[in-house]
């Protein structure tokens, strides 16, 4: 099933003007979101940008004092039963009892969703199959790898067939293979069920899987766009210099060689038109009195685009 064909007119979830403060510190400011069936939307931002606050508000873990929650077009209270029934949440820390087996954990989670007896047991087996862990079902969770635990946690969150899956930094602590497995599983589930997915992340490679990104910085939405559109903001070649001299001085000297120049920590990034990078590098050596320690040429990443947009580093 194509995700595009699953998109419907009524959003599965809409959040309108959510704000939140811890004491005097504003951590989320007038955040709004609409999410439709089959969509994967990413909340992209560094730590402290407000991503986890959004998820905590959505899950009802912290009280909402302003804003609206809408489910299927209808306004509901925060943490309303109707909302919680449609929602599966995978938090940063897995919501599993590491002393119990995989099946015991999932049966408990099924019961928490009102799925008991044969119906609950069947759902558990179905979800174990969906996350490809049927043969590990009787093992104690504490003995499994981080990647497997994450997949079990996703199975837990999907036992009640929610319309929306919310994931808070799902790849945190996963190795590359587990990361790929996780996203293969998520995309399969989305394609098979039309599940809408909201994922909070600071990883550019994770954001690439999203159809739409909401870029957050300092609790505010800076932009809402596709990964391609975000990358296009810094289209071209990116030459990165690691320098021993004053980075600001280097930036000033090479600024005329490209479209824009930025100092990022100890490095200087020069953005050039697409394909111009190889020709620009020799000229850099000509204008600098001291050769850079290292020169790298690459296409801009989402992280570069994020920096260009917000002035903040991801991660």
């Amino acid at each position: 099933m194509n995700a595009a064909t699953l998109a419907s007119a009524d959003p599965v979830l809409a959040l309108l003007n959510l704000s939140h403060s811890y004491g005097d510190r504003r951590v989320l400011d007038a955040f709004s979101l609409e999410l439709r069936a089959g969509e994967i939307v990413g909340l992209l931002g560094p730590n402290g940008s407000g991503k986890s606050t959004i998820i905590s508000l959505l899950a009802g873990l912290i009280p909402s004092r302003s804003g609206e929650f809408r489910v299927g077009g209808r306004r509901v209270e925060q943490a309303a039963r109707e909302l919680r029934e449609r929602l599966g949440v995978v938090f940063q820390a897995a919501s599993l009892d590491v002393r119990l087996s995989v099946r015991e954990n999932l049966r408990l989670a099924a019961a928490m969703r009102g799925l008991m007896g044969r119906v609950g047991a069947d759902r558990v087996e179905l979800m174990l199959d969906a996350v490809r862990l049927v043969d590990r079902g009787d093992e104690v969770v504490g003995k499994l790898s981080g990647g497997m635990r994450r997949r079990i946690d996703i199975a837990r969150a999907l036992l009640h067939q929610p319309e929306l899956l919310v994931l808070d930094e799902p790849s945190s602590g996963l190795d590359e293979r587990s990361f790929r497995d996780l996203w293969a599983t998520l995309l399969d589930l989305r394609d098979a069920t039309g599940l809408a997915i909201l994922v909070a992340t600071h990883r550019p490679d994770e954001a690439e899987h999203c159809g739409r990104l909401i870029v957050l910085a300092g609790g505010r939405t800076v932009a809402e766009l596709t990964p391609d559109a975000l990358r296009a903001r810094v289209d071209g070649d990116l030459v990165t210099l690691t320098v021993s001299a004053d980075a600001n001085d280097v930036a000033q000297r090479i600024a005329s060689l490209g479209d824009s120049v930025q100092v990022v920590g100890d490095a200087v990034q020069l953005r050039c038109p697409p394909g111009a990078g190889p020709a620009v590098i020799p000229r850099i050596f000509q204008v600098l009195p001291v050769a850079p320690l290292e020169v790298a040429l690459r296409r801009p990443s989402l992280a570069d685009a994020f920096y260009s947009l917000t002035g903040e580093q991801l991660g």
């Binding site: 919680r84 919501s95 002393r99 989670a109 019961a111 969703r113 799925l115 069920t193």
Partner: protein
């Protein structure tokens, strides 16, 4: 047969009562699963009061005489208090897991379930009470060693007395664990509040009048000890049913407070 993976319509949602019952069952069942996984831990929790009973019982026995009931021995007098200690220790160690669950992330998964917080609290309290019931049954097997007789026990008072004590203490434990940020702070409160509560409950010594007797009357655990002791010792049965009524009221108040507290804070220390 379960339908294949598919987004469901809202008509397939469990009813409110099914969601509450499911959450209650899950919380209760988890306590039993953990008991089965870690039997040694729970036996250890019950063994500590047993050692207390053996050591203190044999130490104080020669010098103990209860006015008005000279035939009651100290081991017999102290046995009901030790049973209340078993309940206390079990409730403490079982409710401290609320803090561990918050730290580990398990609690967040519980809080997003559609059932009411009250069902969560009741399920946890009933799970602890089931554990207490098993431990109490094992401990009561030692009744003859205390010079007490099974035939003289008023089981209709003892069983609800132990259950209500467990409900009360588990609720107090939940209330504290919900609000406290770390297990260290819980241990501190336990040392300063819960253990002294047991010491001045009449478990160790009878009320001797004066200020201490007033403190004992105000101490919820004293009513537990009075019920359990009255049910076991025919000589100290006066006011048993009144005490059971007071204990029932205290247990319900504690359960209500725990439910109220868990509904207010969102699973994080306030």
């Amino acid at each position: 047969m379960t339908p294949p993976l598919a987004t469901r319509s809202m008509s397939a949602s469990p009813s409110r009562s099914a969601a509450n019952l499911g959450l209650l069952f899950a919380m209760w069942h988890r306590e039993l699963l953990r008991l089965r996984r870690e039997p040694a831990r729970w036996i250890g929790i019950a063994a500590q009061p047993l050692l207390f009973w053996l050591i203190l019982g044999s130490g104080f026995a020669p010098s103990f005489q209860l006015s008005g009931a000279p035939q009651v021995t100290y081991t017999g007098f102290f046995f009901p208090g030790t049973l209340v200690m078993v309940v206390l220790f079990t409730a403490i160690f079982a409710t401290i897991t609320v803090i561990e669950d918050r730290t580990s992330g398990f609690l967040q998964g519980v809080l997003v379930a559609p059932g009411a917080r009250g069902a969560m609290v009741l399920g946890k309290v009933l799970g602890i009470t089931t554990t207490v019931a098993i431990q109490s049954a094992l401990f009561l097997a030692l009744l003859p060693l205390a010079g007490l007789q099974f035939g003289q026990v008023v089981w209709l008072a003892l069983v609800p007395g132990v259950v209500l004590t467990s409900v009360m203490l588990a609720s107090i434990g939940m209330l504290m664990a919900w609000r406290l940020p770390t297990s260290q702070s819980y241990h501190a409160i336990m040392s300063v509040v819960l253990l002294p509560m047991w010491v001045v409950s009449g478990a160790l010594f009878p009320p001797g009048g004066g200020t201490l007797e007033v403190i004992m009357m105000l101490n919820p655990l004293a009513h537990s000890v009075n019920v359990v002791r009255g049910a076991m010792l025919p000589e100290l049965r006066e006011g048993l049913w009144t005490e059971l009524g007071v204990l029932l009221a205290l247990a319900m108040v504690a359960l209500g407070l725990a439910t109220w507290a868990c509904q207010r804070a969102g699973g994080r220390p306030a």
